[in-house]
């Protein structure tokens, strides 16, 4: 991996120094352990804190649409400066899809692309190499990873801790960016989607049971929705009470409805960054649902979201020969 | 759990009279309701400034200020602006229908402490609803107060609440009723202009006076400014706050402004207290 932190920080500093840039969102060292936090950088000092490492799982494209729209007092001009964001391959698809959906405009953002050899699953990592209170550094190291902690270097094989989404990643290099950092990485052979296949292998009752157990755990914190770069409605229908799609009550019935609705709204839009699954405090394998739908859309409709900024949105278009074998 | 010990249980009250105060999209409808259960009726006691949770079963509840004074009789009055789901359902209630009521909640205007003082109310729009009980209370206990001045304004004459009551008021010597609307209208025999300006024009003396103001935030801001100009002290000024509420009894958490729960520590606050709460005017 040729990612050079010097270069990254220098580029970031240059970008935030621009008059037309409000701030830059990148990754920075978290407060302890393996944590990496989103960093909002406005100056060179901030830029010097940025990192890019196998621990940078978060999809920062979320922050492009997360900012609340506040009333602007009369006579005051809105701040139209751009927001710069650092993206991995998967994250860049979110940016692309947002452009397709007018969630953002190309000229509202500066996209800094970071070719990504794959990030770690922090849970897996912590399981095998217990997390401690000290801040650690991690690096890509040839085929694997290098963990630097307390002056000690630990080599970790790639397969041992690689995040599931990365195992299945087909776009390690950003598909859309204004500035590209480093050299592109060589895409790798992707595994079968074992998670999805395992569920598919069950019969319908087993599946119902499996998901019943999963959705029963849901606490409806909405972190899956909020972290999703493509869930950017200011006013989510699933929050609304008139009409009520989903009751506020937290129980298996409403949780399932919530999860189905959430997944459906991402149909043909999910770019498989895996954030929903990562942030779920109940450990619901949301990625399986999203990936399943994404795969169906890819296989049956030949559509892949977030790769072409000029594409017609999947759910707002059709082909005369869309599959219809299910129709009576 | 037995009935009576659960503060969340609302009691049915029958709508005895209803009328529209104002029209338009966000119209205000007033309800006069009487509890069905005599015991509840007897045990109920409220003072000016307090609120009640009213609602319709199956739809929900809303915290609404009680817009009548206990001195008026064994009934309650609510003036409700049509805004959301609950108020919409409330607006559909007609005479004879049931409204579910629980309360009273919150603190009240310290009417006892104010005895012997002059009372000045400054209201704007629907903000007159929490002020009306004070006006009525003072009217009913005229001997105990030094007099009452009321300033009330709205955008148009059609946006004034309780219109029918003002004429009678202006007949009394110790009650002064000053009405104003933002822009001139045909047949309008009162002042034209904004409430804060009218306050300046009237130039009330701060001496031995209590001011209670309620209305849109922007009006309050200028009223406060002008009261200061006129020499009023923070302790003389009172207002009521409104926040989103669910439980009404200080549990559900959402109505806090700083460390105050509006539903319990309020809704009545003196400006002296309020200005210490950073969120109060957010």
């Amino acid at each position: 991996m040729k990612m050079d932190l010097e270069q990254l920080r220098k580029t970031a500093a240059e970008v935030v120094a621009r008059d037309d840039v409000k701030y830059l969102v990148g990754w920075k060292q978290g407060t302890y352990g393996y944590r990496v936090a989103p960093g909002f950088v406005e100056d060179a000092a901030g830029a010097a804190e940025l990192i890019f490492s196998p621990l940078c799982t978060a999809n920062l494209a979320t922050y492009l649409t997360l900012v609340e729209e506040l009333p602007i007092p009369r006579g005051q001009e809105p701040d139209d400066r751009k927001v710069a964001v650092m993206v991995k391959g998967c994250d860049s698809r979110a940016v692309t899809q947002l452009i397709v959906e007018k969630g953002i405009k190309k000229d509202e953002v500066v996209v800094i692309g970071c070719p990504c050899p794959g990030v770690v699953d922090p849970n897996l990592l912590a399981e095998k190499y217990p997390e401690t209170e000290d801040q650690v550094e991690m690096k890509w190291n040839g085929e694997g990873f290098l963990l630097l902690r307390g002056g000690e270097e630990t080599k970790i094989a790639r397969d041992e801790v690689l995040a599931e989404k990365c195992r299945l990643c087909r776009y390690p290099n950003p598909v859309y960016s204004d500035i590209m950092l480093g050299d592109p990485v060589e895409p790798w052979e992707t595994d079968e989607d074992k998670g999805v296949e395992e569920v598919e292998g069950k019969d319908v009752e087993e599946r119902a049971e499996y998901w019943a157990e999963q959705f029963d755990k849901c606490v409806r914190c909405y972190s899956c929705r909020n972290v999703c770069p493509l869930c950017y409605c200011q006013d989510c229908v699933l929050d609304r009470l008139n009409p009520t799609w989903v009751n506020r009550a937290v129980n298996f019935s409403e949780n399932t409805a919530f999860n189905i609705a959430r997944a459906f709204h991402l149909g043909g839009r999910c770019i498989e960054c895996g954030e929903c699954e990562r942030v779920c405090p109940a450990n619901i394998p949301l990625g399986k649902i999203n990936r399943k739908l994404a795969r169906e859309v890819r296989d049956k409709y030949g559509f892949e979201p977030g790769v072409d900024p000029d594409a017609e949105p999947f759910q707002a278009s059709f082909k005369p020969d869309d599959p219809e074998e299910f129709i009576l | 759990m037995k009935n009576g010990t659960n503060p969340y249980i609302p009691y049915p009250a029958t709508v005895e009279e209803t009328w529209y105060e104002t029209g338009g999209d966000r119209c205000i409808k007033t309800f006069k309701v009487v509890f069905d259960d005599e015991k509840v009726r007897k045990e109920w006691s409220h003072l000016p400034g307090q609120c009640a949770m009213i609602g319709v079963l199956g739809i929900g509840e809303s915290m609404i200020s009680i817009s009548c004074s206990p001195t008026e009789g064994d009934f309650l009055r609510f003036s409700v602006m049509r805004m959301g789901k609950v108020t919409q359902a409330l607006h559909q209630l007609e005479v004879g229908d049931k409204m579910m009521v629980r309360g009273p909640y919150g603190n009240n205007f310290p009417v006892d402490d104010w005895q012997g003082k002059k009372i000045l109310t400054i209201g704007g729009g629907v903000g007159q609803a929490p002020l009306r009980p004070i006006v009525e209370y003072v009217k009913a206990n005229r001997d105990e107060y030094e007099g009452l001045t009321m300033i009330y304004g709205a955008r148009t004459s059609g946006d004034l609440c309780f219109k029918g009551e003002f004429e009678e008021m202006s007949k009394c010597d110790d009650l002064a009723c000053h009405l104003t609307i933002d822009v001139e209208e045909e047949g309008w025999g009162h002042n034209v202009g904004f409430v804060p300006q009218m306050l300046l024009d009237l130039n009330p003396s701060p001496e031995n006076t209590i001011v209670i103001t309620c209305g849109p935030p922007i009006m309050i801001r200028f009223v406060l400014e002008n009261l200061k100009k006129l020499g009023f002290e923070d302790e003389q000024i009172y207002t009521t706050l409104e926040n989103r509420m669910k439980c009404g009894i200080g549990k559900c958490g959402r109505c806090n402004a700083g460390n105050m729960y509006v539903c319990k520590d309020g809704p009545v606050f003196s400006y002296a207290v309020l200005k210490e709460i950073p969120e109060a005017f957010a």
């Binding site: 729209e69 506040l70 009333p71 602007i72 007092p73 009369r74 005051q76 809105p78 959906e101 007018k102 969630g103 950017y232 409605c233 200011q234 006013d235 989510c236 229908v237 609304r240 008139n242 009409p243 009520t244 799609w245 709204h265 017609e312 949105p313 759910q315 707002a316 278009s317 | 529209y20 029209g23 119209c27 409808k29 049509r82 919409q88 607006h91 559909q92 209630l93 007609e94 229908d97």
Partner: protein, 666 residues
């Protein structure tokens, strides 16, 4: 103000149509107990006058403000009851019908199940009616002008009718002259009128009518707007001839350096024309046009020392600097009269159309037989070796029609008769020739058709029942291989001339018009009418009508009749001066719209556009519905993630309670 819903439920017996399978009294009794229901009644025929009066009286007496009628299909009587309640002062959209006849009593047998289902349907209707909103229909002004696309006989006729009624007409024709296909015909069946003789006066009328603005050599580029208010952009293609100066003298064509080099479109390629040309002698307008592709000067930049046409034109009309011109105007209605294309005989290679010069199409035959045609009306064909007068003639019907192998299953309706007519004309010119017609069926359904067919048969024209399988050459003859299916005899007839009775097909370029006007196609690929029987000249888009073969194969009388029908329909909004806009349109909640533009993509009527609004000082993009264009289908709504766009009367907030009512009532 929010009124409390006070619902009247009316359950219809429909004689015994409903009451024999549904216990209507029980349904009414059940409904009476549901929330907000003030009265619930039954009546023998709700749609009858006394039935409607019953509802009106109840509205007055009980102060009802919503009505549920449980009776037949809303497709039947919704307008009836809407009108009834609105006469009683209730907004007509405060009505919901429960279909307990077509979808209940008539399809179920047991009274228990019928009654149970009727109750559910009523409770679902009730759930919805309580939440319906009052809607007002609005009217907008209609532009008293019409656009007619295509100036064949259909377009000309429609234009004349509308213009005669006093409305402005823009008649747009793609080619340099009006007249269309009819102008190419020789005589017309069954009366044998000379086509040109009856058409030319109409062409001239159309050109000279004060209310008609004729835009030949022009194409419609853009149509936006809606009934009463279409904005049209037309491209007037450059003719390189000053329209006002050209006298139509023809000196230019005669002197053209590439004189008579190019196949004449009008003569189906059988005749030749110059690069500057008049499509045919009677062309209207009689103005020359330069074919830029073939003109030496325009295509190569050089034509001798100087272009000859320019030199000889006394009027100085030649203008090589001319550019396409855009014309914009507004109309209230549009008639599509773009006509047809004859079937391309090359698609039946077994008939050898591409291989043998003496295999020609019916359209070519028209030109061949025409006195103004390339041969001056003489029947001469090249058999590959020499020019001869044919002695043996074969006419084949149903070429490209009723033929699934070329994708045309329909009957082209005119071939039977034009082939008969051509046989008759050939008989006139070739009294001794053997004339055979190969046919599958003879359909002579029109006025005077059967008589004409009889006449032709008596003129020694042989009708052979059989669909030729192949045509090939043997010596200097063509062999028609066919089985005479009446006596199961295989034949190999040797002939000198084969006329292929080609059918009619949608125009090759109709897709452009389709996309321009957002019309749809029927399975035969012609334009789809709104209803095959009851609205044959209307399209699904209000204010756009069809005339002539654009909608399907037709003969001239039918074309004219339909053109007149389209003209009459198109004149309704023009004459009224107003159009009513559908009230059940979609509406956007701009506060929640996230501006993704999905609805804009989805809407088939371009009724939704993105606009920029100021939301508390922030400029944000949101969708907005043009109510005049919206048809209320609701497709946008189902595709909106934030439920911000909702069709009135079919809002989520109105449908979800319906679902709940059906679900909970088990």
């Amino acid at each position: 103000m929010t009124e409390k819903p006070k619902v009247g439920v009316y359950v219809c017996h429909c004689g015994i149509n409903i009451s024999s399978t549904v216990d209507v009294e029980a349904v009414a009794e059940f409904a009476g107990k549901l929330p907000d229901v003030k009265v619930a009644k039954t009546y023998s025929y709700m749609c009858s006058d006394p039935g409607q009066t019953l509802i009106k009286k109840d509205i007055e007496e009980h102060g009802l403000n919503r009505v549920v009628v449980a009776s037949c299909s809303p497709r039947m009587h919704e307008p009836t009851f809407r009108k009834a309640i609105s006469e009683a002062g209730v907004n007509p959209y405060f009505l919901e019908m429960a279909n307990i006849r077509e979808q209940c009593s008539w399809v179920h047998e047991e009274i228990e199940e019928g009654t149970a289902k009727a109750k559910k349907l009523v409770s679902a209707s009730l759930a919805k009616v309580r939440l319906l909103e009052a809607l007002e229909t609005t009217e907008v002004d209609a532009e008293p002008a019409a656009l007619i696309i295509g100036a064949g006989i259909a377009g000309i006729q429609a234009a004349l009718d509308i213009a005669d009624a006093g409305f402005k007409v823009y008649l747009v024709e793609k080619t340099p002259s009006v007249g269309g296909r009819m102008a190419q015909l020789d005589k017309t069946f069954p009366t044998l009128d000379c086509s040109a003789c009856i058409l030319t006066p109409k062409m001239v009328d159309a050109a000279s009518h004060p209310n008609i603005e004729l835009l030949t050599y022009s194409e419609v580029e853009e149509v936006t707007g809606f009934i009463g208010n279409f904005d049209v952009k037309v491209r007037k293609k450059a003719r390189y001839v000053d329209f006002d100066k050209c006298t139509g003298c023809g000196d230019c064509a005669a002197e053209c350096r590439v004189k008579d080099r190019f196949p004449s479109e009008f003569d189906q390629g059988m005749g030749k024309r110059s690069a500057i040309y008049l499509p045919f002698p009677q062309a209207v307008p009689a103005k020359y046009t330069i074919d830029a592709e073939n003109c030496l000067y325009l295509s190569k930049g050089k034509c001798g020392k100087s272009p000859k046409c320019q030199d000889v034109c006394g009027a100085g009309a030649i203008n090589f600097d001319q550019e396409d011109e855009m014309v914009e105007f507004k109309v209230g209605a549009i008639i599509v009269a773009t006509g047809f294309d004859p079937f391309d005989a090359s698609r039946k290679p077994e008939y050898g159309y591409d291989d043998y010069p003496n295999v020609i199409t019916g359209m070519e035959m028209e030109r061949l037989v025409s006195a103004s045609g390339p041969t001056g009306g003489k029947i001469k064909v090249n058999n590959g070796e020499e020019e001869i007068e044919p002695k043996e003639v074969a006419l084949i019907k149903c070429v490209g029609s009723r033929d699934a192998s070329v994708g045309n299953e329909y009957c082209s309706r005119v071939c039977c008769m034009y082939v008969a007519k051509q046989a008759h004309l050939l008989r006139d010119k070739l009294p001794d020739a053997n004339i055979r017609i190969y046919y599958m069926d003879v359909r002579a359904f029109g006025k005077g058709f059967e008589e004409f067919y009889d006449r032709v048969r008596r003129e020694n024209v042989r009708y052979i029942r059989g669909n030729p399988s192949e045509i090939f050459k043997r010596g200097n003859k063509l062999v028609v291989k066919v089985e005479d299916t009446l006596n199961s005899r295989p034949l190999e007839d040797e002939v000198d001339l084969v006329v292929l009775g080609v059918g009619l097909e949608p125009r090759a370029d109709m897709r452009e018009i389709m996309e321009l006007l957002r019309l749809s196609q029927s399975p035969d690929k012609f334009f789809l009418e709104a209803h095959p029987k009851l609205r044959p000249v209307d399209t699904a888009t209000d204010g756009i009508f069809l005339a002539g073969c654009a909608q399907g194969p037709k003969d001239i009388p039918d074309t004219v009749a339909q053109a007149k029908g389209a003209a009459a329909s198109a004149m309704i909004p023009l004459a009224r001066g107003k159009v009513t806009i559908n009230a059940q349109v979609a509406i956007v909640n701009e506060a929640t719209c996230r501006g993704c533009g999905y609805c804009v993509n989805i809407c088939p009527y371009t009724a939704i556009e993105m606009i920029t609004i100021n939301r508390f000082g922030n400029e944000v993009e949101v969708a907005r519905v043009n109510e005049a264009l919206c048809k209320g289908c609701g497709s946008c709504s189902a595709g909106c993630f934030s439920d911000s766009i909702q069709p009135k009367s079919f809002r989520d907030s109105q449908i979800l309670p319906q679902i709940a009512a059906l679900g909970v009532m088990r």
